[in-house]
Symmetry: C2
Subunit: 453 residues, 2 copies
């Protein structure tokens, strides 16, 4: 056991360096809070998995004495990225079917493949692949929605990645569950089994307004309030969904969710592509969050979420990759680039979603939506040391005038060099730690062979 | 000197293997012509810089005896990519100013930086950096438009990259030239000096309808016809350009160019974002080509070129990166992804611009626009061996069900492993050959320091 630790970072005398686990010196640090700033030649101090200091480098070595010191001389250090919407296990279906109309894609390719193949083992293997891909690209936390959440929990636990697992709810049967009650009871049992895990948490995840009944939504609203759980749902993804919803319930799906008690700060509204002024006002007045998935929305021709309007109205926005069957990369650097580009095009204004705004969405915006804004999403003292370091000195990306805009418009995920989750190093020298690439690849190849039949 | 060479690849007897320079065995080959196919376990034979065979692997070693054999067991081999619009030397301004309104960006940041810094040395150094970036990412040929084309020619020559250099024309003075006649006479002299170079060719590059007079356009039309040169021009990039053009000339800029004799198969219309039905009909009936730059168009909020309509009307389309001040990567894999995503969104149809269509734009579409369709752009016998090999077996990109769609939606340029230009290897094992990284980086750092002042 290390000595000299203190729970209160300011308790250490300035004359006696505080003993800590880790001190990171970085050329640049973007703390996200305060917003819009890039610190140069600063250091981040970590102890017991949490941030205990962020200060100029020349002060750091008198303030702290660290068991491990990491030099990031040509890197920018940011909070670990938050992927606010994914179906992690669908990495095994990456590129199974592209360039198809949405309903053919779902009904002829994705759903049959899922019906045939999605088991506990599929979800465990697919989620490990997804976690590996996400961690390697600087994503330290994701908001997952899929079947067999216990398998996903085991996978994220094995990979050391922070995740919120959706208690997925549908009215119709799959290999995982038979009806809404069955999905809920199985999911809540998994939550009970994992409730003390330091990196895992749970949401209620009714799939969409068109797959879940009023009765079930009301039960979910009650459970969400009782158990203090976020509600993770696809909503207003396509025009057709809204039209059909209006035919069936007489109201737009978001308005129906509001009537059923679900539009509030716990709501993570995924996609929210088609929003009229009433929808926008509803989201703004209730404190709900939006998970924006620009790549998926473009690839499936769903439309463009009016993100600049959301920002202007103070609606919290995070970024998601969606699943790898509709993207096909779980790459938050790509999502940041696409969010910026798409917003400028959609708003007809190149100044919207500037680099720092987009970085905020991919970190604190996601954390806030997941109810984790006190724990992660920015480099503030007391928060977990979920961190991502990105090398900016590769010749192919030179020159670099502004590290923040470089992350949005130039950097690729291959430039991510180090990743920590709650102070534990998961990626070092661009390589996942404790990760048996060839073993996982062998497993993935077996699934691919099965799926190709 | 090698023996047994023959100018006619079919002249070799099937019993005696033909002696050749290079035989490449690839897991997959996408030849572009015939369109829409992916060959598995085929081989490409190269001699004297040109393709002399494309055949099943198991036949290749009896047909050919090669001085060098390259095994690409987990790769897809494609034609080298063609970047149909760039300002190569502007890599030195990469990310100098982002997230600004177009006119502030140009007038307050880019033009002053150019006025102060753009010299022969700037263009030579910036173009070498651009050529290195492009080759490293599988681009073997680009269509460049900038000042000091002699410096650019020396740079492309030094890097062994195929390029078409624009004889840029403006009415107003820069550090390079004083008026339209001066730009033309300097540019034509450079063309004379380099006219026998095997990799370099020239276009006439009037900057845009709003910066070039009718008199100059008429002279350019005459020169283009006399000298058989393509005409490379920015056109219909923004709504404002069209409105101002209509005010000044009483007609839309494309119609004005047509009146001046410039809309014909030699025209490379760059951007062509805002096209009404008359514009589309004009392009379709005249055989002009469009250089589509999706990243630049989104980032500057110019709008979205209606590419699906162009394809439906049979208009030839190639892809461009634009310059690194407005993109900020010279990365054709990114442009392919953005072209596919943006077209689906714009057309409200996820089936448009499928993977093979986009691959065709980034290769043969560009070649055709540049008048080089008989020489490059597809893997057909007799064409130059301009080639790109991309590894598809990295775990982070698994599984891979369809190599073509994998290139569009999954692959990153870091997966480019080998590049050949006219049969000469330029990239091997993901690394540029004969390239002194640290020397170039030192030069780039000096420019960055100057520009930051």
């Amino acid at each position: 056991m290390k000595t000299g630790k203190t729970a209160n970072p300011v308790a250490a005398s300035p004359d006696v360096p505080q003993m800590i686990d880790l001190l990171i010196h970085a050329r640049w640090i973007i703390p996200i809070q305060p917003a819009g700033i890039t610190l140069e030649n600063h250091s981040l101090a970590v102890n017991d998995g949490r941030i205990v200091g962020l200060l100029p480098r020349n002060e750091s070595e008198t303030r702290f004495s660290a068991a491990e010191v990491v030099e990031l001389g040509q890197h920018v250090l940011t909070p670990g990225f938050v992927n606010l919407h994914t179906h992690a296990a669908m990495t095994l279906l990456r590129g199974l079917a592209d360039d198809l109309p949405l309903m053919n894609w779902l009904q002829d390719r994705i759903w049959p493949a899922e019906a045939k193949h999605v088991t506990d083992a599929f979800v465990y293997d697919g989620t490990r692949l997804a976690a590996a891909e996400m961690l390697r690209g600087g994503i330290t936390c994701c908001n997952d929605m899929y079947f067999f959440p216990d398998a996903a929990a085991r996978a994220f636990d094995a990979m050391g990645m922070r995740a919120m697992l959706g208690i997925t709810v549908l009215e119709f049967p799959t290999r995982y569950a038979s009806d809404a009650n069955d999905y809920l009871s199985k999911g809540l049992a998994v939550r009970d089994a994992w409730r003390d895990h330091p990196l895992l948490s749970f949401s209620l995840a009714p799939h969409a307004p068109y797959t879940v009944s009023d009765t079930t939504f009301e039960r979910i609203a009650t459970l969400a309030a009782q158990l203090d759980l976020p509600v993770h749902i696809h909503v207003h993804e396509s025009r057709n969904e809204i039209e059909e919803g209006q035919k069936q319930s007489g109201m737009r799906p978001l308005a129906r969710l509001d009537r059923l008690g679900l539009v509030n700060p716990a709501l993570i509204a995924v996609h929210a592509v088609h929003l009229d002024t009433t929808d926008l006002a509803l989201l703004a007045s209730t404190g709900a969050s939006v998970a924006h998935n620009p790549t998926s929305n473009m690839k499936l021709a769903s439309g463009a979420c009016p993100v600049a309007k959301l920002v202007a109205q103070g609606i919290n926005v995070g970024l998601g990759t969606d699943g790898a069957a509709s993207n096909n990369r779980l790459d938050i650097l790509q999502e940041m680039r696409h969010a910026a580009l798409l917003a400028k095009l959609t708003a007809d204004d190149p100044t919207v979603l500037d680099a720092h705004t987009v970085l905020g969405m991919a970190t604190l915006g996601g954390a806030k939506a997941m109810g984790l804004a006190d724990e992660i999403g920015s480099l503030e003292i007391g928060k977990y040391a979920d961190l991502c370091a990105i090398r900016l000195d590769e010749w192919i990306a030179q020159p670099c005038f502004d590290p923040a805009s470089h992350l949005i418009y130039v950097a690729g995920r291959e430039q991510v060099s180090h990743v920590w989750v709650a102070g534990q190093c998961r990626v070092k020298a661009h390589t996942l730690i404790d990760f048996n690439e060839s073993a996982l690849l062998g497993t993935v190849n077996l699934w691919q062979n099965n799926l190709q039949v």
